[in-house]
Amino acid sequence: MGLLTDPSAGQGKLIKLLLKYYAKLCVLLYTVGIVYFCALASSQINSSTYFSENALLPGLVRSEFMDNTMAMNYFDELKHEMKKYDDSIPYPWLLAKFRQLGLDTYTHNFSLNYPLGASQKFTGKNVYAIIRAPRAASTEALVLSVPYRPPVSVHAPTASSIAIMLAFAKFAVKEKYWAKDIIFLVTEHEQLGMQAWLEAYHGVTCGKKDVLISGDMKGRAGSIQAAINLEIHEPEIGQIDIKIEGLNGQLPNLDLFNLSGKMALKEGLSLTFKNRLAKRLKSLWRDWIYAFQTMMSMVVTQATGVPNGNHGLFYRFGIQAVTLEGFSLPNPKSNRAGFYTIARILEGTFRSLNNLLERFHQSFFFYLLSATDRYISIGLYIPAICLLAATFMIKAYAKWCQLHNNNKTDEKQAGGDAKNQLSDDVVKELEMKHAALTQGDWEQKFEVESEKPPNDKHVGLGHVSLVYVLSHVVGFALRDLPKYMSHVGATYGYSTETSIYGTFAAVSLLGVLFPLCIRRKPAYKSMSFLNIIALLEVGTALICLAMYNISIAMFLAAIYAPATLLINPTRCGSCRIVQRVLWLMMHPFVVFNVCIAVFTFTAFPNDSLEEVFYRALGASRQAMVYSIVDSEIYGNWLYNMITMIFVSTWLCFYYVTFGKADPSEQIIKKKSD
């Protein structure tokens, strides 16, 4: 309790040290944080994955699936059938096949009212079939899902996955050991169908009301424990990739990832994560570089908060899921795995999942992967984001102490050296005088005293709160305005992309120009205070974000921490310009565009600069629309979070640069002159 009771703690020395070195301390923390985060990829620091849930008993049973020819037949039939349906799902065929196997088979209709632009309506249809568990009362279920992709789809085909699914269903329906229902689900329109199905299954709406209308469902199984999503592109594949990044950066339980990985390895398939094999390189440096690249590609995917497969939508419902994506390799000799192998992987996985006694809860939910068999747990990566968030907090604390110290010195100067030791007579006289005063007299004296003008300039709280509230109003407006403008734009014939991008750019520009119109410079202390609040808000937001999505938190912290450190009201005109230019570069809109441009440039390195520019512009416009649509349909909060917190605080910091210079700075300068 020394911390609480020591009356002299924090009196001077520590705070003086902090005030003197806080900038250096922040730089140090920032560097250590970044270096530490990068070092996490090294196998010297992170650890290898292991099974935490005993009940899974992975790979303990002998695989029994043999029916390769059946799968081949299904595949050929489906290919033939698909030709009849150009851009929709061949559901009569699917229904017939599932019914033939004796499963409870249902269809599920959903529709989407496109939330932007001129109102449009899309419809879709999912097909699903349920094997009822012979050994339990349909209280729990597992899901095997495949996104159906018609021939016109831009994505790689998944017909072979459906063939495998059917073959596996045919195999599984005969077995007596299932203790959990198995749902075979074929979804349409990629993630849309999956989201609609999940919402209908659980009877909820995740996004805005009346956008995705998930409809009703005729048949249900028990509560879903785990799901495997299949995206096998070819009948013969050479490697299998496990995808895990979900909505808002959520991840599945590490045990499920390990389980499917182990099953793939057991069947002799090469396993990749982010299309990268687990490699052990002899040189420590190269090993780290390789692992770091793998980790960073996960960080990039996770940071967007957009699921990279249908598995990512399950997490919101507390269901663990992964996508197994199978690729054929360019060298035909290495594509040794056919339907047989993959169905055996599925068999192993589902039989392990069948053993589960409770929901997945043992292993990690918060981790980063640097290879298929190395993980970085939350305990390891949290210090990195804490160090970065601490830079904001420490600067805020230092600023706070500065403000407070200034007040103190002012007061001391005002105090003077009046002697207060009085003789007894005077004291008596005083007491007599005080006793003579009535309550009313005291009140009058009090009024007079409190009307005395302040002896130093205090923080203008009204001013600060006005700026703070206004900048958040702008943030809120940016969240909703583009959507409305897209409706307005549609009536005037503008495309959704143009109206949204234009609105965002216009509002951002207004936010930038507005403070320029104010003639009077805001007081130093007020701006210092605003700076403190904004720093605290960003710091808090980063810590909160890190709980959901470490990648986006790291990314934002890494780019904002250095820039916010430089934001201080100063006298020097050129510093001010540098500050503002730098800070303009940090506007979320600019950062967003630059990120997209960099991605475009890396994706199309051979194009000319002009081509890349137009491509990037198009991509940015598209991405902005997608992020708004995602938040409307799936409840992805990336766009809302950026506008409501980061645009708002950006404006606060921007306003701070307009403040008057630190008066103590002036005093020092005069002295040095």
């Binding site: 911390l3 609480l4 009771t5 020591d6 009356p7 002299s8 703690a9 924090g10 959520q250 997490y315 919101r316 507390g318 929901r359 809860h361 939910f365 918060f366 907090m393 805020a396 604390y397 706070w400 407070h404 103190k408 007061e411 001391k412 105090g415 003077g416 050296d417 009046a418 002697k419 207060n420 030791q421 009085l422 005077v426 004291v427 005083l430 007491e431 005080h434 005291w442 009140e443 004296k445 009090f446 009024e447 005293e449 409190s450 009307e451 005395k452 003008p453 302040p454 002896n455 205090h458 605290l536 710091g539 808090t540 937001a541 810590i543 909160c544 709980m547 959901y548």
Partner: protein
């Protein structure tokens, strides 16, 4: 200088505006049902249910749903029956009244501080002048108290959820007004009603006693006041028992508060502890936890702050909010709004910034961890409890800080800022 009437009106209308906007926003439904705001004890839904059961002729205290005492239930029934469509606005009004009470209290408190300072000025050390209150030091705290109370999200959410804590806050703030104006009727009535509702304000007898004693300088009269208080509490319970044909409600109200049978998570410390603990230790820890709220700090703080009953009462309000069995953020709203009255202690305080930042972070973090625990199923109870524990600890630091700052300021006023003995730097040690 009083805050001009225009400014005051502006503040109130802004407060109403913010509440109105919140009431009609998309978040309203998601936020008001959160466990940080509604506990089994203060949930208005349960009151509505109790009223309905009563109208059907069923004893509302028969099942485990209603924990509001009969007198208060009658009041809420009256509200629900007569103004069914204006309930949110009534709670808004209660909020404004609470804010105004706090404002009145703070102004009067500053006046008292000023009088005390002027009277004792000659006894202060010569270099303690920087500690003296002048100008804005006296003029700002009431405004801060008002603004902090009315625009604190805790308060806004609390009144939007129409919790009974809103009413309890009004009663407690009336009690503060009562003790600062030496008005026995108001303070006794407010305290009686507040004790009836949430029991813990019973420890407010200490500030009440001190107030009466300071004014009348007679222990007998002070004891008499407490006697009247006890009599009125018992009287009301007795009459309620006659009207409700029995005393089952005692077990459902005070029994519910003291025995803590409901372990729904909240921002406090009880639920996690009693959930994790072996059942046969329950009684032991029940006693120690309840003694922690009521008895442990009662005498020490009373002796230490005998000169300043409002400060004592404020410390008690915070301690109750921290350690009571079913705290909600509405309780903390009141304790935070009282802080500006001790703005003059700030220069002697040490961890205000750190504690406040912790409160802000944990307030943001707790709902997220709750979400991860309950909806995504990825985190667990420890995450959420960790956040609320940090939240509570920050409040403990805050209240401890204030009490030490009070002592330190007394010292500084007497002996001055100079901390040197024989030319060497000296250190203040508390023993």
């Amino acid at each position: 200088m009083t805050m001009s009437r225009k400014n005051l009106l502006l503040t109130y209308s802004l407060a109403v505006g913010v509440r109105y906007l919140f009431l009609h926003s998309d978040f309203q439904k998601d936020i008001v049902n959160r466990i940080e705001i509604q506990t089994p004890l203060n949930s208005f839904k349960r009151v509505v249910e109790g009223r309905y059961r009563m109208s059907l002729g069923i004893d509302p205290y028969e099942s485990d749903s209603l924990h509001v005492p009969p007198l208060h239930l009658t009041f809420y029934t009256f509200l629900i029956d007569n103004f069914p469509n204006y309930l949110p606005y009534i709670f808004m009004l209660i909020d404004l009244l609470t804010g105004h009470c706090l404002y009145t209290f703070a102004r009067r408190y500053m006046l008292k501080l000023y009088i005390k300072q002027e009277k004792n000025k000659h006894t202060y050390a010569e270099d303690a002048l920087s500690q003296l209150l002048e100008g804005r030091d006296l003029y700002l705290p009431p405004q801060y108290a008002l603004v902090v109370f009315l625009f604190n999200p805790y308060t806004i959410f609390n009144s939007a959820a129409m919790t009974t804590t809103t009413v309890n806050n009004l009663l407690l703030s009336l009690f503060f007004v009562g003790i600062i104006y030496d008005n026995l009727v108001i303070s006794l009535a407010a305290m009686t009603l507040s004790t009836l509702q949430s029991f813990y304000p019973v420890i407010m007898i200490a500030p009440l006693y001190l107030t009466v004693y300071k004014r009348k300088e007679s222990h007998l009269q002070a004891c008499l006041t407490l006697f009247i208080y006890a009599l009125s509490v018992i009287g009301i319970i007795y009459i309620s028992g006659i009207i409700y044909n029995g005393y089952q409600f005692l077990d459902q109200t005070y029994g519910f508060i003291l025995k803590v049978p409901d372990q729904q998570p909240n921002v406090g410390v009880f639920w996690y502890f009693f959930m994790e603990m072996f059942e046969h230790f329950r009684l032991l820890f029940l006693f120690s936890y309840q003694m922690n709220v009521t008895v442990l700090y009662f005498l020490p703080l009373t002796f230490k702050f005998r000169e300043d009953p409002p400060l004592l009462a404020a410390c008690f309000v915070t301690l109750i909010a921290i350690f009571k069995s079913y705290p909600s953020i509405g309780d903390f709203a009141l304790s935070l709004a009282l802080l500006p009255c001790w703005k003059h202690l700030y220069s002697c305080m040490q961890q205000v910034f750190i504690s406040s930042v912790t409160i802000v972070i944990t307030t943001a973090l707790a709902p997220i961890l709750w979400d991860l625990w309950i909806f995504w199923g990825t985190a667990n109870a420890n995450f959420f409890f960790g956040a609320t524990l940090a939240f509570v600890t920050a409040h403990i630091f805050l209240v401890t800080d204030i009490s030490f700052a009070y002592t330190k300021r007394e010292y500084l006023l007497k002996y001055g800022n100079c901390r040197q003995i024989n030319g060497k730097d000296a250190k203040l040690v508390l023993e």
